[in-house]
């Protein structure tokens, strides 16, 4: 059991089929792998290979057509929406390609959201943590800027801070640098690597950029719907 203790996420024979009958697209055809605590893993694959699809399933935003996803020893495959929502809130953080901040809200308010929505209000302790996280990503001078007043790179750093807000065990990042110029992209990767080194947070980062992938401790390649070892 001691080796199980280090297992964060166990994916077993996951399939995903979109559509039905004749128009069915079999995107994932039996994906199996394990993520361990503290890892920083790159998910590599050509465009359309199913990276986003897999991340959505792992993030409990979508359900697999077949197979099993276990996280923290819990089987998430058949849990109901409310349970999954709670689970996400506590244990999973997301960074999306197009940052998707809430535009009417300030950087700090965006970062605090995952805690506030759970507690029903914006507590001082949450704001303090939010401030600390924004400081960590180098935006302590932009706390009260609206999302619309930030640059692309800045928005993505706010999104990273938000993903870390509830101290999740797993952060799923879907092409977090795909929308940034090279300098900003490297900066963001630097930041993720630092956070990973300092905390036990596990990162799974999808990308088709080899240079980005090289910054990770391990690579998982997805091809023709299966893991290509």
């Amino acid at each position: 059991m001691s080796q199980n203790h280090d297992q964060l996420l166990v994916v077993t024979d996951v399939h995903k089929v979109f559509g039905s009958e004749e128009t069915a697209t079999h995107v994932l055809k039996g994906i199996s792998f394990t993520l361990y605590r503290g890892e920083m893993v790159a998910l590599i694959g050509a465009s359309g290979s199913g990276k986003s699809t897999l991340l959505n399933i792992l993030g409990t935003l979508a359900r697999p057509s077949a197979g099993q996803v276990m996280m923290l020893g819990k089987d998430l495959t058949d849990a109901d929406d409310e349970t999954l929502t709670d689970f996400r809130n506590h244990h999973i953080g997301f960074v999306f390609q197009f940052h998707h901040l809430l535009p009417e809200f300030t950087a700090l308010e965006n970062v605090v959201f995952p805690t506030a929505v759970r507690e029903g209000r914006e507590r001082t302790t949450a704001k303090e943590r939010g401030t600390a996280l924004l400081t960590l990503v180098g935006l302590d001078d932009r706390l009260h800027y609206r999302a619309t007043q930030l640059s692309g790179g800045q928005k993505q750093r706010v999104a990273i801070a938000r993903a870390l807000m509830n101290q999740p065990e797993l952060v799923l990042a879907d092409e977090p640098t795909g929308n940034l110029d090279r300098a900003s992209a490297l900066q963001v990767m630097e930041l993720l690597a630092d956070i990973n080194a300092e905390s036990q947070t596990t990162f799974l980062i999808s990308t088709h950029d080899d240079q980005i992938a090289a910054r990770c401790s391990r690579q998982i390649v997805i091809q023709d719907g299966v893991i290509d070892a």
């Binding site: 986003s52 979508a62 929502t85 809130n89 998707h100 809430l102 929505v117 938000r162």
Partner: protein, 402 residues
């Protein structure tokens, strides 16, 4: 749900122009709602005041004694029939016990017995035919509102007091404090002193009626202890037909609602009320459609944000709450704004009893302001429910990927 309220508030004011416009639209509908209520209510009150303001809502009398049945006999034919009402002569005995029974109906507001007869007022060689009305002291103004139309003297009757119209008094050439004779149709006479003069604008009352104290009337008309009719006013005058049926069922007495003798007015008031209701329903439908379509657009525009919120742990009911609350807030704000507008616009209108010909009879008290605000808030909340529900059921993946 403080946090949800903050989100709703922030969303509303992220496009202030659109929100203000929406609230203004709702306010306009609420204004129409209140204005229609006030106008229909005021109009009804005006008509009722003018036409049946001095009438009983239900008149209770002794039932007519059953007439003998005429049997057709072979070889004979009925050529003519004459029905004679017996109740005018007999009236109700023991009115006090009937009154006690009538008082048990909680819809009944006022009960006033009256004894009626015919006679002549005589002043020197001037005479005027009048209807004699015996009223119980203390109930003089219960049915006919003498107190609102007194010109001289007092509306209270006692002993040999006489209450007549100003016009009749002018015809007879007398004033308050003067004495004259009242002779009943069957010859009895009594001497009375004019104690009050009124002008009600109803010629039957102003020119052809004499009001005297009940005891005096009973002696004059030779009907001790009896009354002709017990007149009733109800809290809701539209309840008269139903009340009349119930009184008849309970007492066996004849009970006539005002609507029997004023059927056209009753129908007109009903039609008017229906027209008002239709307009009010349309005003509410406008609110619902406006709010629903605005929120439909909002939820669509915020699809990706909704997806993100769901990804970060917002439950379905949180999303539902955020968007429903926007509807409720719009409804409440629009409702209050419309109410304030209506109060400001309708306050200058004179009270119904002071309305001059050509003026709109608007009665703000009948504007159903509370109801308007409540219905609007409820309507807007319901209107928001559908778009909010579909927002809460968005697939987060679809929403984020768009």
């Amino acid at each position: 749900m403080l946090y949800g309220a903050k989100m709703a508030w922030r969303y509303l004011w992220s496009s202030p122009g659109q929100t203000v416009l929406l609230i203004a639209g709702v306010a306009a509908a609420v204004f129409i709602f209140i204005f229609m209520s006030a106008l229909i209510g005021g109009l009804a009150e005006l008509l009722v005041n003018r036409t049946i303001g001095n009438l009983a809502h239900v008149s209770v009398e002794a039932p007519d004694r059953a007439l003998p049945v005429l049997v057709q006999q072979p070889g004979r034919q009925v050529l003519a029939m004459r029905q004679v009402s017996t109740r005018a002569r007999l009236g109700l005995s023991a009115p006090a016990s009937w009154e006690k029974i009538l008082r048990e109906f909680h819809e009944v507001e006022t009960i006033a017995p009256k004894l009626v007869g015919g006679g002549v007022l005589i002043r020197g060689d001037v005479t005027r035919q009048v209807s004699i009305n015996g009223l119980r002291p203390g109930h003089e103004s219960s049915i006919i509102h003498f107190d609102r139309g007194m010109v001289a003297g007092s509306a209270l009757l006692r002993g040999d007091g006489l209450l007549i119209g100003k016009k009749l008094a002018d015809d007879l050439g007398i004033g308050v404090g003067r004495t004259l004779t009242l002779r009943a149709d069957d010859g009895n006479e009594t001497s009375l002193t004019v104690s009050g003069l009124f002008s009600l604008g109803v010629s039957q009352l102003d020119e052809n009626s004499a009001f005297i104290e009940m005891g005096t009337a009973q002696a004059l008309l030779d009907r001790p202890g009896r009354v002709s009719v017990i007149e009733i006013r109800l809290a809701d005058l539209y309840a008269a037909p139903a009340m009349a049926r119930r009184i008849h069922a309970a007492t066996g007495l004849d009970a006539t609602p005002w609507t029997d003798t004023n059927e056209e007015l009753f129908e007109a008031l009903k039609a008017q009320g229906n027209t008002g209701s239709i307009l009010k329903v349309f005003a509410m439908i406008t609110v619902v459609i406006g709010v629903a379509s605005a929120l439909m657009l909002t939820t669509f525009r915020r699809r990706s944000e909704i997806g993100i919120m769901r990804a970060f742990g917002a439950k379905r009911r949180f999303i539902l709450y955020v968007f429903v609350l926007q509807g409720s807030l719009i409804g409440l704000a629009g409702g209050l704004a419309g109410a304030v507008l209506a109060i400001a616009a309708l306050s200058p209108f004179p009270p119904i009893d002071q309305v001059q010909p050509g003026q709109l009879p608007v009665d703000l008290r009948q504007g159903a302001i509370g109801l308007a605000v409540l219905l609007t808030t409820l309507g807007a909340t319901l209107a928001a429910l559908l778009p909010a529900r579909s927002a809460s059921r968005l697939d987060p993946v679809d929403a984020i990927q768009q």
